[in-house]
Symmetry: C2
Subunit: 437 residues, 2 copies
């Protein structure tokens, strides 16, 4: 029986999970591959600490030097699970130059340096697989590359960051302010301290950029993905959203507009009966709509040792199967043999057309609502509903509004004017609305 040798660089949470899947399910995997899949070397700066997995790797396969993995002529697949940008990039490129297939879970690296890495894989004639980079254990990369391969992808929209979803869920259920929900998430191990890249939308934007690259066949410039985090969301906004029939979620959204593509990550209000509105706690879910398949959803745990290990191992198994089947050519990383003729162009955020929620804090004086709605009207923004609540202690009241579809640039201009009114006491909260069809 053939043997496929794997080398792992980075033995943290995901590295340990990958080793755990490969050893615990050794027999199942051998049956499914038709070859033994063996971890031949593991590189990590820390080769002492116990990772708390049932079967420990033997000391003889541990090394502190990643080059021991990359240069080992017996290793077929190099699995990069160290994270970070510069070193990971260097190791992946070196491994490819040595003719190794590469598996990675490194979403930041692929989002920011993807173009170089995808091209290197093609140049070196090796496979690059990254199922674990988006949605943890959810096989979403497979759905995009294979399952929906006959479709023009029209919408790709998801809850891609479990930490911020957990925080929003806690804020909703327990009526907590943002800071307390973050503290809870950190205490329970759902979030790093501080969870900056999770709550500011960067992590979700990384994952969105990877999905867009596959759906449209070419890497995009990550900087063009609009990002706004959940820091400004208050329990008040969550409560008002519920009065209007919505939940608040941090959503990553890509839509094919024909000539251009929307690509944005920000908090949204989404109707309670939308399937994404019912994804709670640390779960992730991705909604993909294709011109033939229609709406589809993929749901599961987006992080953690075991789910992410499951995704990494599914990639290792696919590469191992290709080797057993003696596949000669290699599918390019983005699953497009020919890049599409027209490069993907991202719509400037100013041009976005959508509906909005505003919460204006204003003094409860006569004529306030008329002044505000006048400014909105002058900027071509029409209101679909308003809630005006009673006076609070400081004398200022929330005026809460939903709009019909409006243009982002005009909304920003109108909000700027409103926030400069003497009667307005605080910065207006703006949340975009999604899923209202």
């Amino acid at each position: 029986m053939k043997q496929i040798n794997v080398g792992i660089i980075g033995f943290g949470t995901v590295g340990a999970g990958t080793f755990e899947v490969l050893t615990t399910n050794r027999e199942i995997i051998t049956n499914r591959v038709g070859a033994r899949v063996v971890v031949r070397k593991i590189a990590d700066l820390d080769i002492e600490t116990d990772r708390g997995i049932p079967e420990k790797p033997g000391a003889e396969i541990m090394t502190t030097d990643a080059m021991d993995v990359i240069s080992d002529p017996e290793i077929h697949v190099v699995v990069e699970l160290m994270g970070g940008l510069e070193k990971a990039r260097e190791f992946i490129l070196k491994a490819m130059e040595q003719g190794k297939h590469v598996v990675t879970a490194n979403k930041a690296l692929l989002a920011e340096f993807g173009r170089e890495i995808y091209q290197a894989a093609e140049r070196c004639g090796v496979s690059l697989a990254f199922e674990a980079s988006v949605g943890g254990g959810i096989p979403i990369i497979g759905a995009l590359k294979t399952g929906l391969s006959g479709n023009r992808i029209q919408t790709c929209m998801g809850i891609l960051n479990g930490t911020s979803n957990y925080i929003l869920t806690q804020m909703t259920r327990e009526n907590l302010p943002f800071e307390s929900a973050v503290a809870d998430a950190v205490a329970l191990g759902f979030a790093e301290d501080p969870p900056t890249l999770d709550v500011d939308g960067t992590d979700a934007a990384h994952k969105l950029a990877i999905m867009i690259s596959i759906a449209f066949g070419s890497a995009i410039d990550f900087d063009q993905v609009f990002r706004e985090g959940i820091v400004g969301i208050t329990p008040d906004d969550i409560r008002f959203a519920q009065e209007f029939g919505y939940h608040i979620k941090l959503l990553a959204i890509a839509k094919d507009l024909g000539e251009q593509l929307e690509a944005r990550v920000h908090p949204v209000m989404i109707p309670k009966n939308h399937i994404l509105a019912n994804v709670h706690d640390a779960f992730n879910a991705i909604f993909l709509e294709g011109d033939f398949v229609g709406p589809t959803l993929y749901y599961g745990l987006g992080a953690g040792r075991k789910p992410t290990g499951s995704a990494v191992v599914s990639d290792i198994i696919s590469l191992a199967r290709d080797m057993v089947m003696e596949k000669r050519g290699m599918m390019p990383p983005l699953a497009h043999v020919r890049p599409p003729e027209k490069a993907v162009s991202i719509q400037p955020m100013d041009e976005l057309m959508t509906s909005y929620y505003f919460r204006v804090s204003a003094l409860d004086t006569p004529g306030v609502l008329s002044t505000i709605s006048g400014i909105l009207a002058q900027n071509g923004i029409s209101i679909s509903s308003v809630i005006q609540k009673g006076r609070d202690q400081k004398g200022s009241v929330p005026i809460v509004m939903l709009t019909h579809e409006a243009r982002e640039s005009q909304v920003q201009r109108a909000i700027h004017l409103i926030d400069n009114l003497d009667v307005v006491t605080d910065k207006t909260v703006v949340i975009r609305v999604e899923g209202n069809d």
Copy 2:
């Protein structure tokens, strides 16, 4: 540029959908495959009727003889979309003997004659792909074969029949009796007239058998899958379910018990907050739980020309990619190169342990509840809650109960005794409960 030639047998709904996807998205598919995918011949007994698709196949590629497709030496992939058992089986086997790769959407054939067909594919060294056989456009076969390939699958549970889900949704929303909901579904084109295989659980059981075969690596005997339909469900049961906090769904369930496997299709009561309880209308959803990935869900349209066409084309694209990459070996149809050592053994239904809902119709006389609960207690069934409603016009009342976990054989014995009581006026409705963890 290479060209991959496809022949289609059966040009009904799904055949037309497949042709529509291949022609509408010709350029996208060419980019993704790196070769042109061309439909070279289409066989159907009716080559006259307009299928209502934008681009029509030229008359020169239409034939009434399936053997024209199977014997054409230029055709690489034969796509069987005629349905039915005997003829389809014959054509698929002949195509494989001619060295053609085969794509099929024929769930009945795979569930009932799968073993023979899977073996034939391996013997002939060809690929057999059947993404469209389960869950319509949802890429669930891909998730089982590839996405979760590192996992031991513990639970595979789904709403696999859109027609019965549509009927149950209408019964719930509109408070309709079964017969009226069926009539609506037929009138709207969601159901055949009569929709026997949909509502009696056979169609869902076919799909469950296919998923089990992949998850556990060997074909199962279809007759061992327990089937019970939704014909006996009344609006009363739906209302009582809601009072207890449940929805009623037709669910296909497989669970790995270690030595044996549960495999059953029947109506269930499922908690309202379970993600499967929120799958409505004609949508399908499959819940897969693996030992590492944890709970995952896949959701989309389970039938129809376009979604099913999407799934068939994803298979064609995968085979075409393999040809472009000059893959030499072939992955066996069930994605197990070595079948597992132990064949799958299905647990007899009598041994099932689960919770139950009973609706007993009884005369409203003193002592009835005590008699019934006595019989249950004697059979080791303990009650978790009871609703007893006021007298109806005919003098009989519903006594509605939920039980703790009990054994199916004891439940059947107790219900038999209860139904033979003089005070019991109608057959007791029994619905199993699922998803209560």
